[in-house]
């Protein structure tokens, strides 16, 4: 289905652009502006140039937190993505049972974020008693467990949604060929899920990289600062009204995320063009 080339399409996009310009782009520009000032009050500020950036990027603490956030994202992704795929593949494809599964699995996604930490607090206190909050490894384990509990379902829902679009003829063909379960997964289901998986990966990466509410409510970044992540440092600065440094930090985070999203887009483009090539190859071969 060829798309029509028509620049009037911008008209359709205008509402979205205006809306997002107002709630996202304008605030971002303000943040960028503040990041060059020492803000005493909204109306009184002093130009400080790149001082805040130097402060933030020059501090060991920032890089420690950065490493911690990276580690957290890495752990969370290596658990959630394969687990999400495994669950999505095994959910029944139709019938009342599949709907029930989806409803049950969506539950964690519907709990207010600050309550997630509290629910886990109560549960962990029941299971392990008090005192685990004083130790680093149990706190990390609790935060990871909580994140897995909270967000794996999103991966499941996304993967499942793309799995249901596979025509049953594909599975029948695989059965006729005597394909093993693994091969069916590898050559039929995984390629179909690829696009969605990239999206899920990106969503989960960014959201876990910038995780804020849950670890903060669970143990306030403690013990010490062993579970303080990037967004939590920013949150602390916003709360203590250090608007200048907070803005510089926000800009740095935004640029980091933009870079990551851009890299992702590139990867996606490479993927799409490869797919196009494959399609062309098929199209060329067909007449022969």
């Amino acid at each position: 289905m060829a798309k029509v080339r028509n620049n009037k399409a911008w008209l359709f996009l205008l509402p979205a652009i205006v809306l997002l310009g107002f709630v996202a782009v304008l605030p971002l520009m303000m943040v960028a502006q503040y990041s060059f000032f020492d803000v005493f009050h909204i109306k009184s500020k002093v130009w400080v140039g790149l001082d805040w950036y130097r402060d933030v990027l020059g501090s060991i603490r920032f890089w420690e937190t950065f490493g911690r956030s990276m580690l957290f994202s890495a752990i969370v992704l290596t658990i959630e993505i394969p687990l999400g795929i495994a669950i999505a593949v095994t959910i029944p494809k139709k019938g009342a049972l599949s709907a029930l599964c989806l409803v049950c699995m969506s539950l964690p996604l519907l709990v207010p974020w600050n309550m997630i930490a509290m629910i886990w607090h109560v549960f962990l206190a029941l299971a392990f008693g008090a005192g685990w909050t004083l130790k680093i490894i149990p706190t990390w384990a609790a935060i990871v467990l909580m994140d897995v509990w909270h967000w794996t379902s999103l991966v499941v829902l996304l993967c499942y949604s793309s799995l249901t679009t596979i025509p049953s003829a594909f599975y029948q063909a695989a059965a006729v060929d005597g394909a093993s379960r693994w091969n069916t997964f590898r050559y039929i289901e995984l390629p179909k899920m690829k696009a969605v998986l990239i999206m899920a990966l990106l969503l989960r990466f960014i959201d876990s990289f910038m995780v804020f509410v849950e670890p903060f409510r669970l143990n306030a970044g403690g013990p010490g600062s062993s579970t303080t992540f990037l967004a939590m440092e920013l949150g602390q600065e916003v709360v203590s009204q250090d608007y200048g440094p907070a803005s510089a930090r926000a800009v740095i985070y935004f640029i980091m995320i933009l870079t990551l999203s851009w890299a992702f887009k590139k990867a996606l483009a490479a993927h799409e063009s490869r797919k196009m090539r494959e399609k062309m190859v098929v199209a060329i071969r067909k007449p022969a």
């Binding site: 289905m1 605030p27 943040v31 909204i42 793309s162 249901t164 608007y243 996606l268």
Partner: protein, 641 residues
């Protein structure tokens, strides 16, 4: 169902397993006597425990399939699951039932109560099967078999290698046990890791290898004269008898100061294996001398089930029985010995009908995957298992939430703490602040959906139908907006909204949430639009519809599923979001999440907090029920245009 007896089984080994399980039953009876400080009980306990669990390891090695190591991982996991883990899970669930009716010995676990069940489940998951302590060995053998699967491929070529490996595994396991100190109840460590995968399994694998070696050397296979068996057995017996008392440490489990494999408490580096091997030899030789009586062999083939059934005696019967024996009958050595034997035999006899029932009704659930039973008539498949376990995991922390919300938790009220009550919910509806918060949340989420969906519909239509200058960049731009964390934007958004008088109002939050809901909705709706053929638009427009009429009258009804899914996503990210919702409501208009936070004080009524949390989930559940058919029907999401 004794009809299906595998022909290849070696009767001697089954008899040895019978002796071993009898020793488990006996050991757990004399354990109670030992705990009551009966001298005979203490000696007998130390005697039995010096070798009886290692005997199981040796026997498991003796009958181990060597070709296991050539299996693909999937097959190994499958077998491990169907013959070990599934019976473990099933029988643990079964063993969770009796605490509801009988009082037993559960080491401080408050059973039957929700707290007790939760803690017990967590302990079980971490390797201490609290509901049936004797079943720990099943977990241990899983660990040993994993070590076997990983290591034996390098050893199978020669017996010498196996022997050296056995020694090395023993030394390594013993050393790790001293060094890692993973299990030490006095230090409050998590129980169970020791025998699951770490040094417990490594130490026991040495004995497993010994079993393999014995079979390879055809130990006790074929004709052996009683004239050689009897003296050998007597020597083995004397060896155990003279050495079992000598092993006095260092023990991991200081409380008993006995060999307790479950706690990786081995004692002396040389005396422990010496006594253990002598004990194993004793039982093997005895078994060889025992006539292959049908019942004994049958019991020997069902040791796993018996280990679970022993839990009934371990938790409920042995403690009072031991007390009664000591107080009511006698505490003298010979009497105790005879009585222990009788108790063991009677216990085993009582287990027999249960073993028969399990094997007849549900053999697939007790480690016999190839048989079929009267209740489970088909071989099992386990496709349903991962989602089920996952859903159980999701419900795990939600159950105490619901439970707490239904109980009185505040001290000093009219009703005592712990009483079942609906008052928490009633109080929410009497409190205008809390009901107001629910309404605020509903208001801003509804507003958000009402703003997001039309805007996103138009944009998604454009992305789906047209190419235009900068379309890819724009899509990326939208994506970048979604990726920007709320914390980054919260401050300027607050300042802007303050100027526009949008703070403290649902509309303010609704607008702020558009920043991440609009991109997501465009993304979802675009794929739905793309599923409708373009020719459809053209036909409609050719028929004389104006574009607006076409879009509202024809396109939107067609897009209903897409709109439902997009609305679900909006709801999902908006209802639960807390950063914007908190900052943008300074004095009033607080959403549900923030209202809950304000309930915390120095005298928090946790029941009320939990009730509010439960209520906060309900609209979401309704929302999913509304959108579920569309999600279940499936929608193709394309990752960008």
């Amino acid at each position: 169902m004794t009809a299906v007896v595998p022909t290849k089984r070696i009767a001697t080994i089954d008899i040895a397993r019978f002796y071993a399980i009898a020793l488990v039953f006996m050991g757990h009876f004399v354990e109670e006597l030992m705990l009551l400080k009966n001298p005979a009980g203490m000696s007998l306990y130390k005697f039995i425990y010096s070798f009886h669990m290692l005997l199981f390891a040796v026997l498991a090695g003796y009958v181990a399939k060597e070709e296991v190591v050539d299996w693909p991982v999937a097959k190994f996991i499958d077998r491990c699951f169907t013959t070990r883990l599934l019976p473990f899970i099933f029988l643990t669930l079964v063993m969770m039932i009796p605490p509801l009716f009988f009082e037993g010995k559960f080491f401080g676990l408050p059973l039957p109560s929700l707290v007790g069940y939760f803690r017990g489940t967590v302990f079980t998951v971490f390797g201490l099967p609290s509901f049936c302590v004797p079943s720990w060995f099943l977990l241990m053998i899983i660990g040993v078999e994993i070590v076997h699967y990983a290591a034996f491929r390098y050893l199978k070529t020669s017996d010498l290698k196996i022997l050296i490996a056995a020694l090395l595994f023993y030394v390594a396991g013993y050393w790790l046990n001293l060094k890692l100190d993973i299990f030490n109840p006095l230090k409050g460590r998590i129980v169970g890791w020791n025998y699951l995968f770490i040094h417990g399994a490594i130490t026991l694998y040495a004995f497993y290898l010994l079993g393999i070696l014995l079979r390879r050397r055809r130990f006790l296979v074929g004709k052996v004269s009683i004239k050689r068996l009897l003296p050998a057995a007597v020597i083995a017996f004397l060896a155990v008898l003279f050495t079992y008392q000598l092993n006095d440490g260092p023990f991991n489990f200081h409380v008993y100061n006995y060999v307790v494999i479950m706690f990786a408490s081995y004692g002396h580096f040389l005396l422990f294996p010496f006594t253990a091997i002598a004990g194993c030899a004793l039982i093997l030789l005895l078994s060889r001398m025992t006539r292959a009586q049908k019942t004994i062999v049958w019991l020997g083939q069902n040791t796993m089930l018996l280990m679970f059934l022993n839990g009934i005696f371990y938790h409920y019967i042995n403690p009072p029985l031991a007390k009664w024996v000591l107080e009511g009958i006698s505490s003298s050595g010979p009497v105790i010995l005879i009585l222990s034997g009788i108790v063991t035999l009677v216990s085993l006899a009582l287990c027999m009908p249960l073993v028969y029932l399990f094997n007849t009704l549900v053999p697939q659930l007790v480690g016999k995957p190839k048989l079929t039973g009267l209740i489970l008539k088909k071989p099992l498949h386990f496709r349903w298992l991962p989602p089920t376990i996952y859903i159980l995991f999701l419900f795990l922390p939600l159950l105490p939430l619901v439970s707490v919300s239904l109980h009185v938790t505040l001290r000093g009220g009219a009703t005592p703490v712990g009483e079942f009550t609906l008052s928490n919910y009633i109080r929410i509806f009497q409190n205008p602040v809390l009901t107001g918060a629910i309404l605020n949340s509903i208001a801003y989420v509804t507003l958000n959906i009402l703003i997001t969906i039309p805007v996103a519909l138009l944009a998604a239509y454009a992305f789906s139908r047209y190419t235009f200058v900068g379309d890819k960049h724009l899509f990326f731009g939208f994506l970048a907006v979604r990726m920007t964390p709320p914390v980054v934007m919260v401050l300027p958004v607050f300042l802007i909204f303050l100027q526009l008088d949008l703070v403290n109002k649902p509309l303010g939050i609704a607008l702020a949430h558009c920043a991440f809901n609009v991109p997501i909705s465009i993304w979802v709706l675009e794929s739905f639009f793309s599923a409708i053929p373009k020719e459809f638009d053209e036909t409609a427009l050719l028929d004389g519809y104006s574009f607006l009429r076409f879009f509202v009258r024809i396109m939107i009804p067609l897009m209903a599923p897409g709109i439902a899914v997009a609305a679900f996503f909006c709801f999902m990210f908006s209802w639960v979001e807390i950063v914007f919702a908190r900052v943008l409501t300074v004095t009033s208009g607080k959403p549900i999440g923030m209202a809950i936070s304000t309930l915390f004080s120095f005298r928090t009524d946790i029941g009320l907090v939990m009730a509010m949390t439960v209520l906060s989930i309900i609209p979401g559940v309704l929302m999913i029920c509304f959108a579920r058919n569309h999600i279940a029907k499936g929608f193709t999401i394309r990752a960008g245009s």
